[in-house]
């Protein structure tokens, strides 16, 4: 493989964790690694992108109020038209990443492979690994057509490790105007309360599900998470029910977490949830249904009512501190 292009989403000059993971993986394949980044802070992100392996960074300017999808995809398509196709394009599974990958795929008429949890090189091409049926089976796939294939990779599929790379070459690129496809405008950004450690990189995650019985009981999850200096997560069921914001959701449609310990409280273990947490080092499950699938992957299972077990657990941890 000669060249891999990493789509490098950043915020305020800090590349997202998934971007550093993708750069680390890409340089492991012995290819020249390039990154394309955009938006406010993109110039500040260059050094970090270089440190993780990018030898050239294409820096596009500010998008203003536009959503990134159409114009970033157009910018990447223009780069390919000018400099030829890379062997692969790696994109992180984020809200904007999926938009960019989808739009780029249609623009280049190249397929996408998504929900990738691993990559390996074989015969000069990338083979992607996918966890299917709730992670019970591993599927390996590859593109058979002309490059570049577009690989959309889930967070935490690789460990991010800096390299000793020097400063990358920076190439300023234009964000092309795309006409009607670029009609959406961000009017304002609302931040929801995010106190405490982030779900993505916390060593302890305490998650709640339907077994809590009511939205009010989610306070038990938050309290235990706080005591353990961890983050509070949730199953899709209680996010859909409106008990907690989507930003807490762990699973296929939410976040992937790999903490030291994951404590699942009142979560039965739907396949859609297990995909997002089965990479935890230790799993503790508390659920009143002894046949709940979550017990099949738990290192310690407690068959009991979470609304009874959690208050006692909280009290005894408090008593120790």
């Amino acid at each position: 493989m000669d060249r891999i292009l990493v789509v490098a989403e950043q915020r305020g000059g800090e590349p997202l964790g998934i971007v550093l993971e993708l750069l680390t993986a890409a340089r492991g394949f012995g290819a020249t690694v390039e990154a394309v980044t955009w938006g406010e802070g993109s110039r500040e992100a260059v050094e970090t992108l270089g440190r993780y392996g990018a030898s050239r960074v294409y820096a596009a300017g500010d998008l203003g109020a536009s959503l990134p999808g159409p114009r970033v995809a157009a910018a990447i398509a223009a780069l390919i038209e000018e400099g030829g196709p890379p062997d692969a394009i790696l994109v992180g599974t984020t809200y904007d990443g999926r938009d960019i990958a989808g739009r780029l795929s249609a623009r280049l008429d190249r397929p996408v492979l998504t929900n990738i949890v691993g990559l390996e090189a074989s015969d000069g091409a990338l083979v992607s690994e996918h966890a299917i049926f709730g992670g019970s089976q591993v599927l390996m796939a590859r593109f058979t057509g002309e490059a570049p294939g577009i690989f959309v990779v889930r967070a935490k599929s690789f460990a991010a490790e800096p390299a000793d790379g020097g400063s990358p070459e920076v190439v300023d690129v234009e964000l092309p105007e795309t006409g009607t496809s670029d009609g959406a405008r961000i009017e304002s950004r609302k931040l929801e309360d995010q106190s405490g450690p982030k779900l993505d990189d916390s060593a302890v995650v305490v998650s709640g599900g339907r077994g809590l019985g009511s939205a009010e009981n989610y306070a038990l999850i938050e309290e235990l998470a706080k005591l353990l200096k961890g983050a509070a997560g949730a199953s899709r069921a209680i996010v859909d029910a409106g008990w907690v914001p989507y930003s807490h959701q762990v699973g296929q449609t939410g976040k992937t977490v790999k903490p030291t310990v994951y404590i699942a409280c009142g979560i039965s273990g739907a396949t859609q949830h297990m995909v997002g947490m089965k990479g935890a080092k230790n799993i503790i499950a508390i659920n009143k249904d002894q046949d709940a699938p979550i017990f099949s992957i738990a290192d310690l299972g407690v068959v009991g009512d979470v609304t009874k077990v959690l208050p006692k657990l909280i009290e005894s941890i408090k008593a120790r501190q």
């Binding site: 397929p111 996408v112 599927l139 496809s181 670029d182 009609g183 961000i186 002894q290 290192d299 657990l313």
Partner: protein, 259 residues
């Protein structure tokens, strides 16, 4: 206002899903149902049309064997009609192939707005709506948790990593809705009866003016190399709570040095 809703008819996720051993694609024989994720789009479409004071919700779908049972569910909820693309040439289509088919179907419907789920329950690629929007040359707003239409614009609360963005987008546009955006209605008996006689236009790949090589397995330009059982985590100790199970949890947390 007319709204097209992309709906997928899928094998019941509650049943055991299997892959065809030779093609490695999901076995889609037998009865298919409306993907739960799409019920939110159908409901959203119905509410937007009601709020606009007129118009129709039209379903667009791609499915094998002229399957309509999932479409009938959405028609029973209140959608006016459906466009179904069914063709043996579509077997093995990927997200881009699907987007090409649905883009042609949407062009026939000429809606003001296209709604879709953020991803399907069975394939969960999650890129089809953006591919569809790009093929149509339309703007798109994905991950909507609140949607309203006013003065030729769709206003969306779009989910972000740490909250949401208020986004305004001119119509026509593609919007994907998250589960929970609205509470899907249950079809009434009257709705179920009415759905039986609602129009389902069935089209083939050739009817849409597409080449068979652009869709299906050939158009997907990807192959599955292997499918193997994953290394399973095994169940550990299980204790029954008799009022003291929290002590076991504390001991475990100590053992792994979290406490």
């Amino acid at each position: 206002m007319n709204v097209a809703v992309c709906v997928k008819q899928i094998p019941d996720p509650a049943m055991n899903l299997t892959l065809d051993p030779s093609t490695h694609t999901l076995v889609r024989e037998g009865k298919l149902i409306l993907d739960d994720s799409d019920a939110y789009g159908v409901e959203m479409g119905l509410q937007l049309v009601e709020a606009a004071g007129g118009g129709d919700v039209v379903l667009v779908s791609m499915a094998p064997n002229s399957e309509t049972s999932g479409l009938r569910t959405a028609l029973a909820m209140g959608a006016a009609s459906a466009v179904l693309v069914s063709d043996p040439a579509l077997a093995g289509s990927d997200a881009l192939g699907t987007a090409k088919v649905l883009a042609e179907a949407v062009k026939r419907v000429q809606p003001d707005l296209v709604l879709a789920a953020t991803e399907s329950t069975d394939g969960y690629t999650g890129t089809m709506p953006a591919q569809l929007a790009e093929l149509l040359g339309w703007p798109s707003v994905t991950f909507a948790k609140h949607v309203e239409v006013a003065e030729g614009n769709v206003k969306v609360q779009r989910q972000t990593e740490d909250g949401y963005d208020e986004v305004t987008c001119p119509l026509p546009a593609v919007v994907t809705v998250t589960a929970g955006v609205v509470e899907p209605r249950y079809p009434s008996f009257k709705g179920i009866m009415a759905a039986r006689s609602k129009k389902v236009d069935e089209l083939s790949v050739a009817d849409l003016g597409l080449e068979a090589s652009q869709v299906g397995q050939a158009g997907a330009r990807q192959e599955v190399l292997s499918v193997e059982a994953a290394e399973e985590r095994t169940a550990g100790e299980v204790v029954l709570d008799e009022g003291d199970a929290h002590e076991r949890v504390v001991a475990y947390l100590e053992q792994i040095k979290v406490l």
